[in-house]
């Protein structure tokens, strides 16, 4: 499909449908929706070339609210629909929306496989560490001993780390952002779109009804500077209200150092390298090392061929070697005989 001329580029509001948005008032999903609509506009997307595909969950209502093509599919399987759609039409601009339950409980396997296969899609995993739509059960990303409707005495499951999981699945792109930092979120959505391949973006999202405040330490003015670390390729890992803290690697162990004390300077710090899988793996584990801030931004990004690219190249290859198929020849096969 050739991209038609767009004379009047669309505005963010042009990407809003006429449907009432039915999330709870105050839900973090609103902000994400808004940023996505803005980014669609900023990217100058053609709404007829965009498809938003989701599973089931509060987050997965997303397609109903974006004025593009969209499919609200079934629970956990969005990656599979995306894969098939991309095989049918690799030119579409596909955005996938999923939740921590949809994408990591029932849908964990499809997530693994779409990541390793590297279809060219922008994946947004809304992580609110809870099942919202089913009214508040713990999810695979919920912290241990969480009291929820289904775990009145505390949950027992050790949570999955979405970033570590995605890296373990050989994702070509892994990033993290949050609902309450619109600027960062928009920047990350732009990057997702730019990435050719499966761009896995975890978005911390506040479910103010069933898990209010799960990420406040990273989003609240008071604590954000100390608890959130914004990584950028080629830049040292620095954080803190006055950018006074840094991270260095002591062997393989990340350590916080104070840049004010004069003992360490920026030169001692870990320089972020998106293409380094080992560094990415260590960053992924920051959440498990007490005291370390939580990394946001592009944790890992490399180029590798997309599945559809290779698949269509193979189709062309075979055609160029064997020639366009001839149906009569195919039906006849190699061995015939005649009855006269």
């Amino acid at each position: 499909m050739t991209k038609p001329l767009t004379i009047n580029p669309l505005k963010a509001k042009d990407f809003a449908t006429d449907q009432d948005v039915r999330w709870c008032p105050g839900c973090g999903d609103y902000s994400i929706l808004k940023q996505v609509q803005s980014v669609f506009a900023e990217l100058g997307l053609d709404k007829d070339e965009v498809v938003v595909i989701s599973g089931i969950g509060c987050s997965s209502r997303f397609p109903y609210y974006t004025e593009t093509y969209g499919m609200h599919s079934i629970h956990g399987r969005a990656p599979a629909f995306v894969s098939g759609l991309k095989m049918a039409n690799p030119d579409l601009d596909v955005w996938m929306v999923t939740g921590d339950g949809d994408g990591l409980a029932i849908g964990g396997n499809h997530m693994m496989h779409i990541l390793r296969r590297n279809f060219n899609v922008n994946i947004m995993l809304f992580n609110n560490q809870i099942y919202g739509l089913t009214k508040g059960q713990y999810s695979p990303t919920s912290e241990e001993y969480k009291k929820t409707k289904s775990s009145p005495y505390g949950s027992l499951d050790h949570p999955i780390n979405p970033i570590a999981f995605a890296l373990g699945c050989d994702a070509s792109y892994v990033a993290r952002s949050m609902d309450r930092d619109p600027k960062h979120l928009k920047a990350m959505l732009h990057r997702s779109h730019k990435h050719k391949g499966a761009a896995f973006l975890e978005i911390y999202q506040n479910c103010n009804i069933f898990n209010d405040g799960a990420f406040f330490e990273f989003t609240d003015k008071a604590t954000k500077a100390d608890r959130a670390l914004f990584v950028e390729h080629g830049q040292p890992l620095i954080f803190g209200k006055d950018q006074e803290m840094g991270i260095r690697l002591n062997g393989l162990q990340p350590e916080i150092v104070n840049l004010k004390h004069g003992l360490f300077t920026e030169d001692d710090l870990w320089i972020h390298d998106e293409r380094d899988i080992h560094k990415a793996n260590i960053l992924a584990r920051f959440s498990e090392i007490s005291g370390l801030p939580r990394p946001f931004g592009v944790i890992y990004a490399i180029d590798r061929p997309t599945y559809e690219e290779v698949a269509f190249a193979q189709l062309d290859d075979v055609k160029s070697v064997k020639g366009e198929g001839n149906l009569d020849q195919l039906l006849a096969g190699n061995m015939n005989w005649e009855i006269k």
Binding site: P4, I53, A88, H113, V321, D328, L331, G333, E338, I339
Partner: protein, 617 residues
């Protein structure tokens, strides 16, 4: 050269160890038979194991061929001739050799070790030596020795020499059945183009087998089967899975849509994936998904994107696809779901045939979730029915379940294949792009067949959302409105029901328009029913045969046909699944004949059953 006896039909079973090359022997003999203009049907019989240890019962591989100068409907019940390359092959197959039948045994396969592996009692004599085979016509040939002797001057190793054994058998049988060696020699020349030594050896042994027959007077006579009254034309031989592959490719070409096949390997459906994967130059995209759920969902994604989307599996896989198929019903997108049935429940008998997914196909989804179900009745029919499934899916915007089974999948028949140009086109109805600010696009507006348009992402002006929640009529928006839900349930039902107006009326395959007994079949029982009913009709019985291709909806005249017979007998390789659907639809009593053994119904069994039902009249 003695006398030549003329026979009307013959069934040969080639049986040996997996390594003995019996599939190839059978296939070559089959081709040779076909070329002579006889009709035929074949069925292979693989071991459940990939490679069972040599010489064991589990390792026996068989190939059954039934050919004749009359129309052949099945690969045959019992064999006239059994080729047994070792003791295990004899033991496994003797039970179905006809009284007085011929055994061609490779004596080398009956030594102590082979007897032990075939679980003959310790110290037992070879069955070739004791009275086990009394009443049979037994030809004991040390094929191994003769083969080696024939190749003594070549530089081949013993292993390579022994691999030519099957050519000796083939040559021997060619003499016996008055055949030409040429087509096989041609075949060998292509196959071993780059291995001249092997080629030479094979031809030598083939000829040696032939001459052995000619010179040793083992048989007092040759046998000949004349050509059958087949329609004129050019033929090929085809297996069911292969025909299905060709049908899908043809449907894609005839609809102008690229074919997408999403699947997860499972016996006996995997060969469809393998077959399609070879046809990338027909724009065929095969996608080996991580599981069956991903396979059906990817296929739905591809359908959404405008491909002719197909997913194939067997019973357990169909169970897994249920939720996804439900979504396809809701989305009203075209999709073909192939189920090559095998023995169930659960993992069951994975390498055996059964017809036990019919109820699952018709009912196995949550909610009111109707869809067309159609079935294949023979290897060749797989071609045409696959096209028909695609036609219904695309023209009626609906997922279609296409039922095959292990018997059809692996069986083969001669096929007077059609010319591509003679096959009708399939018409997809795409929603057209819209520019300007006209009325809102209504993705669920329907035509007189209740069919919505196919609105492809990427089409200008049609942006819209679809999903698994109940949708408002016409707009397709989410709707919790009570009457709307009822309306949508009914319209989805009506859409499927109305397909009955777009399929042919049911034909009676043979027999009278009314009479004592209607034998009603579906799927792979077609051959045996046809064969037996023809026989009975020719003997004056008022018996007719109807074979259903369309199970949902039933052909519109089926009720009338049923009413014209005093009794209805439904033979099935299951516990009575079509019977249930017929009874609930037509409220008519039916007689059932159910064989649930992972193997086809034989002519003898069916005939006995029919006669019994008739007698009880």
């Amino acid at each position: 050269m003695g006398v030549t006896t003329i026979k009307e039909e013959i069934t040969i079973k080639f049986a040996g160890d997996s390594g003995d090359g019996m599939q190839l022997t059978g296939t070559l003999f089959t081709e040779n038979t076909a070329i002579k203009g006889m009709d035929l049907a074949t069925f292979p019989d693989f071991p459940a194991e990939i490679r069972a240890p040599i010489g064991t019962l589990a390792g026996v591989s068989g190939f059954q061929l039934h050919f004749g100068s009359r129309i052949i409907y099945t690969p045959g019940d019992d064999y006239d001739v059994l080729v047994a390359m070792n003791a295990a092959a004899l033991k496994t197959n003797l039970g179905r050799l006809k009284k007085g039948g011929t055994i061609i045994a490779n004596t080398d396969g009956f030594d102590k070790k082979n007897l032990r592996l075939a679980k003959f009692e310790d110290g037992a004599q070879s069955p070739l030596e004791d009275d086990t085979l009394e009443g049979y016509d037994v030809f004991k040939i040390d094929i191994t020795k003769l083969t080696r002797a024939c190749l003594v001057d070549t530089s081949l190793g013993t292993k390579e020499k022994d691999r030519c054994k099957n050519m000796f058998v083939l040559g021997f049988l060619y003499w016996r059945y008055s055949r030409d060696l040429d087509p096989t020699i041609q075949y060998l020349k292509t196959k071993f183009k780059s291995k001249p030594e092997i080629l030479k050896a094979n031809i030598m042994v083939l000829k040696a087998g032939y001459h052995y027959g000619e010179t040793t007077e083992t048989f007092s006579n040759q046998v000949e089967v004349k050509s059958a009254p087949l329609a004129k034309g050019v033929y090929r031989s085809i297996m069911g899975n292969q025909a299905l592959v060709l049908g899908l490719v043809t449907a894609a070409q005839k609809s102008g849509l690229p074919l997408f096949y999403g699947s997860y390997p499972i016996t006996p459906a995997s060969d469809i994936l393998h077959g399609l994967a070879r046809h990338k130059n027909f724009n065929v995209k095969t996608y080996q998904a991580e599981d069956e759920i991903a396979a059906v969902c990817a296929a739905i994604g591809a359908a959404y994107g405008g491909n002719l989307a197909v997913t194939g599996t067997s019973g357990p896989g169909l169970a897994l696809k249920g939720e996804g198929i439900g979504l396809a019903v809701m989305l009203e997108l075209p999709l073909v779901i192939v189920d090559v049935q095998r023995g169930g429940p659960s993992t069951g008998l994975p390498t055996k045939t059964e017809q036990s997914d019919l109820l699952q196909a018709v009912y196995g989804r949550n909610g009111e979730c109707p869809l067309p179900v159609i079935s294949i009745s023979s290897p060749v029919d797989a071609f045409y029915t696959a096209i028909e499934a695609c036609r219904i899916a695309v023209e009626h915007m609906v997922p279609v379940i296409l039922l095959s089974d292990g018997y059809i999948a692996n069986g083969s028949e001669p096929w007077k294949f059609p010319k591509a140009a003679d096959l009708p086109a399939i018409e997809a109805k795409f929603a057209k792009e819209r520019t300007g600010n006209g009325e809102h696009f209504l993705p669920y507006r329907r035509d007189e067949r209740h069919v919505r348009e196919w609105a492809l992402p990427g089409t200008r002006g049609l942006a819209h959302r679809i999903g698994g929640l109940e949708k408002e009529a016409e707009t397709g928006e989410v709707s919790y409105d009570p009457p709307n839900h009822e309306y949508m349930v009914k319209i989805r039902e009506a859409k499927v029901a109305r397909i009955a107006e777009h399929i042919p009326e049911q034909k009676i395959l043979n027999g009278p328009e009314e009479g004592d007994l209607l034998v009603l079949g579906w799927g792979s029982t077609c051959g045996v029913i046809e064969s037996v009913t023809r026989d009975l009709v020719s003997h004056g019985h008022k018996v007719a045969h109807v074979q259903l291709r369309y199970i949902n909806p039933f052909p519109r005249n089926l009720g009338d046909i049923l009413n014209n017979f005093k009794k209805i007998l439904i033979p099935e390789i299951n516990n009575g699944q079509l019977s249930k659907v017929i009874k609930s639809t037509y409220l008519k009593p039916v007689e059932q004949y159910n064989k649930i053994q992972g193997i086809p119904i034989t002519k003898a069994e069916l005939k006995a059953q029919i006669l019994q039902v008739l007698k009880a009249n």
